[in-house]
Amino acid sequence: MITAIAIGIAFGWFLERAGLGNARKLAGQFYLTDLTVFKVMFSAIVTAMLGAFWLSRLGVLDLAAVYVPETYLLPQLAGGLLFGAGFVVAGLCPGTSCVAAATGRGDGALVMLGMFAGVLVTGLAFAPLAAFYESSAQGSLTFPQLLRVPYGVVVFGVVAIALSMFAAAERWERRAQ
């Protein structure tokens, strides 16, 4: 619990330092004028992936013990669309809304309020949604399983895509300014 709180505080601090507590900055992602969200999130993915891979390879981390959330194709597709629509309308996602609220921004507090209201409504209306919620179950999927390639190939591929995209994002931002 203490570790989780420490990681949560560190995550929030880094999000704030990256400027992601500001809805205008996040909205820039959707207008393709500011790609900070993409760069920060993809950096986090690459860092976590390389860390998990190499710590496991060196025997520090048991990758088999890391929980991989299960995939439910249709409900997660619907949830992703709803999440995206909410992100565009609010200019904040759940994590960044907490950061925005913690730094005293009113829009962040309102998004958090809306988020918890949504959680409450979903909980109350869960019974009729349960069948859909558990539909199209695919089990715990990982890219090495899906693509039928060794783990190292996926790691290399994601790093290559990330570095190429970072370079392209920098060029795009310079042109947009």
């Binding site: 048991d62 088999a64 060794p150 783990y151 190292g152 790093v159």
Partner: protein, 153 residues
């Protein structure tokens, strides 16, 4: 700074290609070995290895001491299955695991693979199939005595 981080990420990504599986037990490799039937030997194949005095061959019998005393394969050593993972093996040895019907030997194969031993096999069908093969193939059976071997063979 950004170039240095990009270089670290690129190095980690390229080396990942060569690093092998991050899982201590690469189940995909094991599954392929099972599909190729590289995980076991038949009684006839093992008999040929014993007759040919295959260098570094170690036959590990995982049955109880009483069962081992009653009958065991030539050159076999008796090791309890819960002592298997602490039994020292050299990397140049070929290990063949034997149990009554092959179940414990197949499980032992997974244990030794998890410990990094690659030259490990189990006797398919275990001791039962061995005895059946000796009956079915008299020329091999005669080489190994033609009847059940007891004590000190």
């Amino acid at each position: 700074m950004r170039r240095a981080l990009a270089a670290i990420a690129a190095t980690g990504g390229v080396l990942a290609l060569l690093a092998g599986s991050p899982y201590p037990l690469d189940v995909q490799r094991l599954a392929k070995a099972v599909a190729r039937e590289d995980d076991h030997v038949t009684a006839v194949e093992l008999a040929a290895w014993i007759r040919g005095r295959k260098p570094g061959l170690r036959i590990i019998d995982l049955r109880t001491p009483a069962e081992f005393k009653d009958y065991h394969l030539p050159r076999a050593e008796n090791v309890a299955i819960d002592a298997l993972t602490s039994t020292p093996f050299r990397s140049d040895e070929t290990i063949v695991l034997v149990s009554g019907a092959g179940g414990h030997a197949a499980q032992g194969w997974v244990f030794l693979q998890a410990l990094g031993h690659r030259n490990v096999f189990f006797l398919r069908g275990g001791q039962d199939e061995w005895l059946e093969a000796m009956k079915q193939q008299p020329e091999i059976g005669r080489y190994f005595g033609g009847v059940r071997r007891r004590d000190g063979c």
